[in-house]
C-alpha cells in the first residue's frame, strides 16, 4: 500500500513537472533553443502569485478561489517577460552556434536569479491555502486537496495549450514555424513574432504552474535550474515536440522521484533524476515518443 501511495504522490507532483516541461519542449521545437532560463519563469510565476496575495490580502493565507484568481495574472506577466526576452535577446542568437544560445539563456538565468535574491532575499517562501489541511481519503490513499487542485490545474493548462496549438490560427502558425521556418515565412507567417509568442506562451504556462508550486512546495530564487533540468529529462524521455510524450514523461519522473524518496531517502531524489537524465540521453536520445531525429 505504501508503494501505491508513493506513486499517487508522484503522479500528483508529476503533472506539475509535465506542465513545465511542455513549455520547455515547445520552445525547443519551435524556436530551436534550449531555454536554460525556463526554470526561472516557474520561479517568477510563483513570486507573482505570492506577492499578489500578499498585497491583496496582507498575508499569504488565501482561500483557494482568491489563489486561483492570481494565476491568470501570473500567466499574463510571464507571457510578457517571455515575449520580451525572445524579442530583445534570444532572437539575436538564433541560428548561430547552439553553444551560444545555451550561454545566452544561462546568462539570463543567473542574472534573474540574483536579481530575485536582491529583491526578495534567498529565503524559501510558500503560499498557504485555507483548505490545505483536510485531505481526501480514497480507498485508503491520502490525497491532499491542494495537491489535487494543482494536479488539475497543471493538466488543464497543458490541455489548453494542446487545444490551442491544434485549433487556432496562431497555434497552426506556431506548428508551421516548428516544421519549417522558411516555408512558414513564404506563406506569410511573421516568424519572429510567432517565435516570440511561443516563448511567451511557454513562459506563461511555466509561470502559472509556478504559482501551484508555491502552494504545494516552496519557492526560492535559486530553484530554477532544477526545474529546467527536470524538464530536460522529461522532454528527452517523451521526445522533442510531443505534448503527450512530455505529459507521460512528467508523470513518470514524479513517480520515480517519490518512489526514491519513499523507499530510499529523499536525499537521493536529485541524484537519481540526474543519473536518469544521463542514462536516457545515451540510451534513447530521441525519446520514447519522439520522431526519429538525425541527431
Amino acid at each position: 500500500m505504501a508503494i501505491t501511495q508513493f506513486i499517487v504522490n508522484g503522479l500528483l507532483i508529476g503533472a506539475l513537472f509535465a506542465g513545465i516541461a511542455v513549455g520547455f519542449a515547445l520552445i525547443w521545437g519551435v524556436v530551436d533553443i534550449i531555454n536554460l532560463a525556463h526554470g526561472e519563469m516557474v520561479m517568477l510565476g510563483g513570486y507573482v502569485s505570492f506577492w499578489l496575495l500578499n498585497i491583496a490580502t496582507g498575508n499569504t493565507n488565501a482561500s483557494p478561489t482568491v489563489f486561483l484568481a492570481t494565476i491568470p495574472v501570473a500567466i499574463a506577466v510571464l507571457f510578457v517577460v517571455g515575449y520580451a526576452l525572445q524579442r530583445t535577446l534570444v532572437q539575436r542568437v538564433i541560428g548561430t552556434d547552439i553553444f551560444l544560445t545555451l550561454l545566452v539563456t544561462f546568462g539570463i538565468s543567473i542574472a534573474i536569479q540574483q536579481l530575485a535574491i536582491q529583491a526578495w532575499t534567498a529565503n524559501p517562501r510558500s503560499i498557504q491555502t485555507s483548505f490545505a489541511d483536510p485531505s481526501l481519503t480514497i480507498a485508503g490513499l491520502t490525497v491532499p486537496k491542494m495537491k489535487l487542485l494543482a494536479f488539475a490545474g497543471a493538466i488543464a493548462l497543458t490541455a489548453a495549450l494542446y487545444v490551442f496549438l491544434q485549433n487556432t490560427r496562431t497555434g497552426r502558425a506556431i506548428r508551421g514555424v516548428a516544421q519549417n521556418p522558411e516555408a512558414a515565412e513564404l506563406v506569410g507567417i511573421d516568424v519572429e513574432h510567432t517565435r516570440a509568442v511561443t516563448f511567451g506562451i511557454s513562459s506563461g504556462i511555466a509561470g502559472g504552474i509556478g504559482a501551484f508550486v508555491a502552494t504545494i512546495l516552496t519557492i526560492d530564487p535559486q530553484m530554477g535550474l532544477i526545474y529546467t533540468l527536470k524538464s530536460f529529462v522529461i522532454v528527452v524521455f517523451g521526445g522533442v515536440g510531443s505534448i503527450p510524450g512530455a505529459m507521460i514523461g512528467g508523470l513518470l519522473l514524479g513517480s520515480v522521484e517519490e518512489l526514491t524518496a519513499g523507499l530510499v531517502s529523499s536525499r537521493w531524489t536529485l541524484a537519481v533524476s540526474f543519473t536518469l537524465l544521463i542514462v536516457l540521453l545515451v540510451v534513447k536520445p530521441n525519446g520514447l515518443f519522439g520522431e526519429e531525429a538525425d541527431q
Partner: protein, 354 residues
C-alpha cells in the same frame, strides 16, 4: 545603416589602432611564442621573490591563475574540439575531494595527493567520456551539466566526503606555495596546448569541431581524439581542484562543484577568444579582475554583472578579444589586397539577390 555606423566607428579605430599594426603584433606573437612564454614565466615568478607580502592582492592573482587553468582546460574540449562541456567543474570537484580526503583522512603528503587528484579526474573522465562523448550539441551540453549535478548530489550524500557540511582542512602550506603551484600548472598547460595546437593532434581536434563527419570520413578515429582531449581537460582541471581544496582550507559540495564558477570559466574562455591559446588566459585575467572589483564594490550583484557580460559578449563579440582582434587585423590585409573592389562586388551581389 548599420554598415555606415560600423564604418564610421572603424574609421576612428583605424586611426588610433591601425589594423596592420595589430596584424604585425599577431605575427610577432606567433613567431616568438616560446620566448614570450619564457618572459611570462620570469615575470610571473617575480612577485614573491621581490618580497611582495601575502595578502589580498596575492590571493587574487593566485585565483587568476586558477581560473586561467580552468578556462584553458575547458577550451581544450569546448573551444578546440567543439564539445561545449557544461560540466567541467565535476573534474574540479572530484580533484578537490580527492586531495581533501587523502590529506585529511589518510595522511598522504600533499604533492602525492595532488597527482592522485589529477589521475582520479582523468579516470573519471574516461568513464564518463565514453558515454557522453557519443552525444553532440544540446545533448552533450545538458548531459555534462547532469554529470556535474549528479556528482554534487553524490558528494552531498556520502560520508567520506563529509556530506553537506563538507571538510575543513588544517596545516595547509603557505600562500606562496599555492602561488607557484597554480602558476606552474598554468605554464605547463599553456605550453602543452600551444605545442598541440601546431601538431596533427591539434588539427584533428579543430577538424572535429568544424565537421566531425568529414573528419571521420578522412579516416581519423575521432572517438580517440575526443576522449584524449577530454582527458587532458580533466587532468588540468583535476590538478587545479586538487590544489584548490587546501588553498581554500574548506570544501563542501557547493564550493567543490561551484555552479557559478562553471559559468565563469566558460565565459572567460569565450570572452578571451575560444579556440585560441592566449584567449582563455586573457579572458580569465580580465573577467576575474572585473568580478573581484564588482565583489568588493557591489556585494551580491556579481551574478547579474556576469550574466549581462555573457549576454553582451555572446551577442556582440562571439569571437572574444583575440578572435575579434584577429578578424580586425585580417580585415586590413583584405583591404591591402584591393578589398574595396571586393566590397563593391559584394554590394552588387546583394542588389542582385534583392
Amino acid at each position: 545603416m548599420s554598415t555606415n555606423d560600423s564604418e564610421e566607428r572603424s574609421g576612428l579605430l583605424h586611426t588610433i589602432l591601425p589594423p596592420n599594426q595589430v596584424d604585425r603584433l599577431f605575427d610577432v606573437c606567433s613567431a616568438h611564442a616560446w620566448k614570450l612564454l619564457l618572459v611570462g614565466v620570469v615575470v610571473g615568478a617575480l612577485p614573491p621573490l621581490v618580497g611582495l607580502e601575502q595578502g589580498y592582492l596575492m590571493t587574487v592573482v593566485t585565483e587568476m591563475y586558477l581560473f586561467a587553468i580552468l578556462a584553458l582546460s575547458w577550451d581544450i574540449i569546448g573551444g578546440q574540439t567543439g564539445y561545449p562541456s557544461f560540466g567541467n567543474m565535476a573534474f574540479f570537484g572530484i580533484g578537490a575531494y580527492t586531495t581533501a580526503i587523502l590529506v585529511k583522512d589518510f595522511a598522504v603528503g600533499f604533492p602525492t595527493a595532488m597527482v592522485v587528484a589529477g589521475l582520479v579526474a582523468v579516470v573519471f573522465a574516461i568513464i564518463i567520456g565514453v558515454v557522453v562523448l557519443r552525444l553532440r550539441g544540446h545533448y552533450f551540453a545538458i548531459a555534462t551539466l547532469g554529470v556535474l549535478l549528479a556528482a554534487q548530489q553524490v558528494s552531498r550524500n556520502l560520508d567520506i566526503t563529509g556530506g553537506a557540511s563538507g571538510k575543513i582542512l588544517f596545516d595547509v602550506p603557505e600562500g606562496t606555495v599555492f602561488y607557484y603551484l597554480f602558476f606552474g600548472v598554468l605554464v605547463a598547460e599553456v605550453a602543452l596546448v600551444y605545442y598541440l595546437s601546431n601538431t596533427r593532434f591539434g588539427f584533428v581536434l579543430n577538424a572535429i569541431r568544424d565537421d566531425e563527419e568529414k573528419a571521420t570520413a578522412m579516416g581519423f578515429n575521432t572517438t580517440y581524439y575526443k576522449v584524449v582531449a577530454w582527458m587532458l581537460s580533466a587532468l588540468f582541471t583535476g590538478l587545479a581542484g586538487g590544489a584548490f581544496s587546501l588553498f581554500n582550507t574548506f570544501l563542501n559540495p557547493q564550493t567543490a562543484y561551484n555552479g557559478a564558477w562553471n559559468v565563469e570559466l566558460i565565459a572567460m574562455a569565450l570572452m578571451g577568444g575560444s579556440g585560441t591559446v592566449a584567449g582563455p588566459v586573457i579572458g580569465a585575467f580580465g573577467l576575474h579582475t572585473i568580478i573581484e572589483l564588482v565583489e568588493s564594490w557591489f556585494v551580491g550583484w556579481q551574478l547579474v554583472v556576469l550574466g549581462s557580460a555573457i549576454i553582451v559578449t555572446v551577442i556582440s563579440f562571439p569571437d572574444g578579444v583575440v578572435g575579434t582582434l584577429r578578424e580586425y587585423a585580417s580585415g586590413m590585409a583584405y583591404y591591402e589586397r584591393g578589398g574595396m573592389a571586393a566590397t563593391d562586388s559584394d554590394d552588387a551581389e546583394v542588389a542582385a539577390d534583392e
